[in-house]
């Protein structure tokens, strides 16, 4: 197995674990964490492709990862803000119980 394939497999596995968490956890915050993990797995792919790809001088993979980290930070801030706002209404972060559209 080539190093690139190893990284891709690892990234796929981490992505799947994150996805499992997103699909199965009840706690909204942990679902958000799962999304972060999936983003990170994607980042790992970018870096691996940049490293082993045909043109590492272009820096595209690194740039994408940097922007992705920046956007993930924004996403986490807004996501947790939304969870806090929801919690204030429903007094729970359990996604199985947050099932109405009414505020």
């Amino acid at each position: 197995m080539s190093p690139l394939n190893a990284y891709l497999l690892l990234s796929a596995l981490l992505f799947s674990i994150g996805l499992t968490g997103v699909l199965t956890r009840r706690n909204a915050i942990l679902v958000l964490i799962g999304i972060e993990l999936m983003l990170n797995a994607a980042n790992l792919n970018f870096i691996a492709f940049w490293r082993y790809g045909p043109n590492p001088a272009a820096l595209t993979g690194v740039m994408f990862a940097i922007f992705s980290i920046g956007i993930a930070a924004a996403e986490a801030a807004v996501g947790l803000g939304i969870i806090l706002a929801v919690y204030r209404h429903t007094k729970t972060t359990d996604l199985d119980q947050i099932n109405t559209m009414k505020g």
Partner: protein, 170 residues
Amino acid sequence: MTAFFLIVAALTIAGTAAAMSLRNPIHCILALTLSLVGFAALYLQLGAQFVGFTQVLVYVGAVAILAVFAIMMTRSANPPEGQSHQAAFSSSWLTGGAIAAVIFAVLAWCILSKSTPMQTAIQQPDVSVNQIGDALMHKFALPLEIVGVLLTAALIGAVILAMPERRKTL
């Protein structure tokens, strides 16, 4: 395929799995930080020093702490006595797990069945911070500006979302 890669990969997988499966949300966050540091180590191993350090700074220093604060504020760290034995997983956990497993199987099949085109002579790409800075300021100037605007918007949005709501006077 060095021993270092195997150790870091094992740690990252363990951290990720623990972050998604532990019962106590705080333990999940702590496992998450292990996983994120593992990611950073993988980036470092791939030669992306700047991304690795940024990863630690942003994720461990900000996102994990933010999540901890959110857990503290929503009191999901210590569930009330009555529901302490309540399942941490959704009632449809079987379906979710199955979907994820299928996706992993498809991805793994794709990765393993094709030999990806690769540069033959793998040399450690020597990327300095100056190059990244140059690229950010010239080639990627517009995305950088957009990310800046996005972060400002997110900052304001998060503050507004988290602000105590004003009672409607009318």
